[in-house]
């Protein structure tokens, strides 16, 4: 390979390496700026992912959908589209799951985590909320210790646009989780 060709190929590689994260950023920024707001009720736990720092892992009530899923296309690992509607409080409800992009105004692209003939569990595209390395375990402690004694009102505020979902804020008792953690510290 001539030096010029090597340098041209190198430049193309560098461009691709920068375009990939840039497109990720653009897609998310566009969703945050123009997406519709939906709330999802959560149940956080806290694993550790060395690659991405600490985060609160989130599961959603809306992730499990009952229905007739005996069709062969609804298998574990497949990508599906969940049609979303809002209830009076602004919480999301999955009204349909389809294998193709639906005509509905609001829908989310998600992967099937688990499938049986009458129940689907979806991996919604906001299954984690990154926090500081000290905040995440604190959040976990608060949830785990108190969960037994009182019901916490926890939910994720998300933006949804053209199948993409981006988590905007994790709320506990209607406060952003960091503020809520600070208020808990203040109480103690």
């Amino acid at each position: 390979m001539s030096r010029t060709l090597i340098l041209v190929l190198f430049a193309m590689m560098c461009l691709a390496q920068l375009v990939a994260p840039a497109s990720m950023i653009y897609q998310r920024e566009a969703t945050l700026a123009h997406g519709e707001t939906f709330k999802f009720r959560t149940a956080p736990v806290d694993p550790y992912d060395a690659f991405r720092g600490r985060y609160v892992a989130l599961g959603y009530e809306q992730g499990t959908v009952s229905g007739d899923w005996s069709d062969d296309g609804f298998r574990r690992g497949r990508v599906v589209y969940a049609t979303l509607e809002r209830d009076a409080e602004g919480f999301a409800q999955v009204t349909a799951v389809s294998r193709n992009r639906p005509d509905a105004p609001h829908y989310l692209k998600a992967r099937i985590r688990w499938a049986s003939r009458d129940q689907l569990t979806l991996d919604l595209p906001f299954d984690r909320y990154y926090m500081g390395e000290f905040d995440a375990p604190a959040a976990e402690r608060e949830f785990l210790w108190r969960q037994g004694r009182q019901e916490r009102r926890a939910y994720a505020v998300t933006r949804v646009r053209r199948g993409f979902g981006v988590i905007e804020e994790l709320m506990v008792e209607d406060q952003p989780i960091r503020e809520w953690l600070l208020s808990q510290d203040a109480k103690q």
């Binding site: 190198f10 560098c14 994260p21 991405r52 690992g77 926090m131 390395e133």
Partner: protein, 441 residues
């Protein structure tokens, strides 16, 4: 002793030899000069590679940890700039190496540069994902990382990024399989690395660099074959793995050069032969043959009938390559490898038999084959007075005897006596062969 140590030893001996009058000072100086070049070549670059790579890995990992741990207080634009900075630094270093021209650097310098750049790609994607709380889709992360860093292998002509790539796509295939998906894209992904593997091996077939590339390749393809197979036809792995190992063994034998004896430098042959034998030993039990073949199609929700043709293509390619290797071996009268090389077609026959007749016949076939191969290699070893071949044959035969007796219901005394007899026979034969060889030479 490796070449480097031998030369070091010679250097230490020279003053004494001159003092004793064995060598003249001129002769000693001439020897020193002759080996000076070799001395400079060996040793150092590998240490450089190892520590360079280790350093790059540590720096890369350190950067990831530093940036990933806690940066909530930074705004999104600042985080984005920080996320992309390791990548830009890595691009600048790689760019500098390529701008100056690879030839101006020790080729081994390209390895740590490649490792660092590859890790920087991963760090940038992961950090952006963290900034936007992106979901943990590990497979899409891996694929993006691998495809974006694959060009480094070709541009830097570096082995370490290739190893990262092979490990990455194999991990991706495993993840896909765990998700219940059919990872058949593994094959085109593997093919993307093939030209580099081929050109490296062609350029210097028995160099350490080529050995490293081949070892990475054979390990990746062995794991990948298992991960990327669909689950439709039970036991399909048996003939496919046998063919893969058979092809490696025969191709390694055909490419062999008589002066290269180190097994480490001939991965295809050593690995293919050893893996073939291990596979046949596993198949000498009845359980792998139970419920295999086309009478037991898997039709559950997690099998992939619609993509079974990919498995079929892979199977045809492997069987075709095996037959080709066998034909070339026979044409070139390279018959000494046929004893172990015939394991794969026999396993394929065993698979057909097990599908039609049940497990028993195939199991017997494998035991019979191991016995014939063991005895055949012993005879070949004695005839050619080659201890290594003899010992492999003896090893196969005694392992077969020991395993079958271990399985049987005979008393411990009988088993013990048989084991002792096999051990004694092993030792005596070795002593006999060694003495004969000594006497003849």
């Amino acid at each position: 002793m490796n070449q480097h140590r031998k030369i070091e030893w010679l250097y230490e001996q020279l003053p004494e030899l001159v003092a004793k009058g064995v060598l003249t000072a001129d002769a000693a100086a001439a020897l020193k000069q002759h080996y000076a070049l070799e001395r400079g070549k060996s040793g150092m670059p590998w240490a450089l590679l190892f520590f360079g790579a280790l350093g790059a890995l540590l720096i890369g990992a350190g950067i990831i940890l530093l940036l990933a741990h806690n940066w909530q207080d930074l705004g999104r634009p600042m985080r984005t700039v920080l996320s992309l900075s390791p990548l830009v630094v890595a691009q600048a270093i790689t760019g500098w190496v390529l701008w100056r021209g690879r030839a101006k650097f020790n080729p081994l310098w390209c390895e740590p540069v490649g490792i660092f750049h590859s890790l920087a790609v991963a760090a940038s994607i992961a950090l952006i994902a963290q900034t936007y709380h992106m979901p943990g889709t590990f497979d899409s992360f891996l694929i993006a990382w691998m495809l974006l860093s694959l060009p480094l292998v070709y541009l830097l002509k570096a082995v370490a990024p290739l190893m990262i790539y092979l490990a990455g796509i194999t991990a991706w295939a495993l993840y896909q399989q765990r998700m219940g998906l059919h990872a058949f894209y593994y094959w085109p992904l593997l093919a993307l690395a093939a030209p580099f593997v081929w050109s490296t091996v062609r350029a210097a077939p028995f160099s350490p660099r080529s050995a490293l590339v081949q070892w990475s390749g054979v390990i990746a393809i062995t794991c990948g074959l298992g991960f990327a197979l669909g689950r439709g036809l039970p036991g399909l792995w048996i003939p496919l793995y046998a063919s893969l190992f058979g092809v490696l063994y025969l191709a390694g034998g055909l490419a062999q050069r008589p002066d290269v004896v180190s097994g480490w430098l001939r991965p295809a042959r050593l690995y293919g032969g050893a893996a073939s034998l291990i596979l046949v030993f596993i198949l000498s039990w009845e359980w792998p043959w139970n419920r295999v073949g086309w009478h037991y199609w898997n039709t559950g929700r997690y099998t992939h009938i619609e993509t079974l043709w990919v498995d079929g293509l892979v199977g045809l390619a492997l069987l075709g390559a095996l037959l080709l290797a066998l034909v070339v071996c026979i044409r070139r009268k390279h018959t000494q490898d046929l004893l172990l090389g015939s394991a794969a077609p026999l396993v394929a026959l065993g698979y057909v038999l097990a599908s039609v007749q049940g497990a028993l016949l195939s199991m017997l076939l494998m035991n019979l084959y191991l016995m014939v191969a063991g005895i055949g290699l012993v005879i070949q070893g004695v005839r050619e007075l080659r201890l290594r071949i003899f010992n492999v044959g003896m090893g196969i035969f005694s392992a077969l005897v020991v395993i079958r007796f271990f399985d049987s219901d005979l008393s411990f005394i009988v088993k013990g006596l048989v084991f002792i007899a096999v051990g004694v026979a092993f030792l005596l034969c070795n002593v006999f062969l060694y003495r004969r060889k000594e006497a003849l030479s």
